[in-house]
Symmetry: C2
Subunit: 218 residues, 2 copies
Amino acid sequence: MLTLFGNVDSGNVHKVQMILSRLSLPFRRVDVRQDRGQPRDARFLAINPMGKVPAVQLSDGDILSDSGAILFYFSSGTPLWPDVRRDQAEVLRWMFFEQYSHEPALAVLRYLKRFAPDPHAHQLRIIELVSKSNFVLGVLEKRLAEAEWVAGPAPTIADYALYPYTRWMDEVGFSHDDWPAISVWLNRIQKLPGFLPLYTDAATEIIAFADYFAARPL
Amino acid sequence: MLTLFGNVDSGNVHKVQMILSRLSLPFRRVDVRQDRGQPRDARFLAINPMGKVPAVQLSDGDILSDSGAILFYFSSGTPLWPDVRRDQAEVLRWMFFEQYSHEPALAVLRYLKRFAPDPHAHQLRIIELVSKSNFVLGVLEKRLAEAEWVAGPAPTIADYALYPYTRWMDEVGFSHDDWPAISVWLNRIQKLPGFLPLYTDAATEIIAFADYFAARPL
C-alpha cells in the first residue's frame, strides 16, 4: 500500500492525488498540515529532509518526494508520459515552468490572501504577485488557444501539474471568464477518467499526523 | 549547429553550457541579457513565450526552453541520465528542489546583493533569503555527507543543475568552509571531463542581441 504525506489544501499534494486516482492506485494519506508547520517538524524531516509535501512512501518502504518527481514516477510507462525524448522534454519544460514561475506566483498569492494571518501586511508583495500571475496565465492562455493540451497532442502529467493552482485562480481574484482557452482546458481535464476535484480525497484511509508518528517511533 | 540564448552571468544558462561542454556539442550563443530586460523583449518572447533564459534552438529549428528540460534533453541516452525509473525520479526530485527551493533562495539573494540598483531597499527580503539559503544548503550538505553525488552513485544532470548557485554561495556572504561536504563535492564536479568554470564560455561564436535580431526579421 502506498502512503501519501500531505494536506488537502495543497495543490502540490492534490496533483499526486489526481494521478493516483487516474491510475487507480490505492493509497492511504497521512495528514501533514502546512498551517501547523508540520512539513518542518523533525519527525517529518526524517521522512523528507527537504521539508515539503507531498512525499510518498512506496510499498518497498522507499520514500520519494517532490510533486514533479512523483508524477513522473507513477506516469512513466503510461500514456501520461510520452515515449519520445523531445516530447518528454516538452512535458518537463511545462512542469518546470509551473514550479519555477506559475506556482510561486499563484500559490503564494493564494497563501497570502487565504491563509496568512494578516494579508494587509503583504500589500506590496500581493501587487507584485498579481502582476506575475497575469504573466504566467497569459503564457498558458496563449498555448491553450493553439492546442488542446499543455505539452503535446494528448494529456500528460504537465496538464495535471498545472491544473490545481490554475483552477484556483478564482480564489485569488482572477476570473475564469477572462481566460477563455484556459477555462475550456480546465473543463477538458475535469472530463478525464478518474478526475478528482480539488479539496476532495481519493485516499482509502486518512491518518492524523500525531497518530501516525505515535505508532512509529523514530 | 545549436544556438543557445542566454547570458554568462546566469547560473541557469551556465548549467546548459556545462552540459554542452561535457558532451562536446558545439554551439553558438546569442547574448540575451537579463540586466537589460532582454528576456521580456517582444523579439525574444517570439522565441520563448515564457520570457526566460536559457532557450536552445536545435539544428532542425525547433526551440526548447527551461534549463531543466534542456539538461534532460541532451543527457537522455548518456550516463548523466540513469536508465531506471526510480533513479530517474531521484534526479528529477533534486532538479525540482533546485528550481523550487534552492535557486529562488540563492540566486535571488545573489541578484539582490550583486545586481539590484539599491540592495538596502531589500533588507527584510535579504534576511528571509539568507534563512532559506541556510536551509537548502543544509539539505544539500546532509545528502553529500552521505554520498558522493547528489542523486545516486554516479554524477547526473542533478549535480550540474545544483552546481552554479551552490558554487556562488561565496558571492552572497556564505563561506565554502562552513559546508565541508558541499566543498568536496564542488571540487569533485570541477574534475569531471569537459568541466566549464563559471563566467566562462564554451560557445564557438557569440552574437549580440541586436545583431541577431537585425539579421532575422520577425
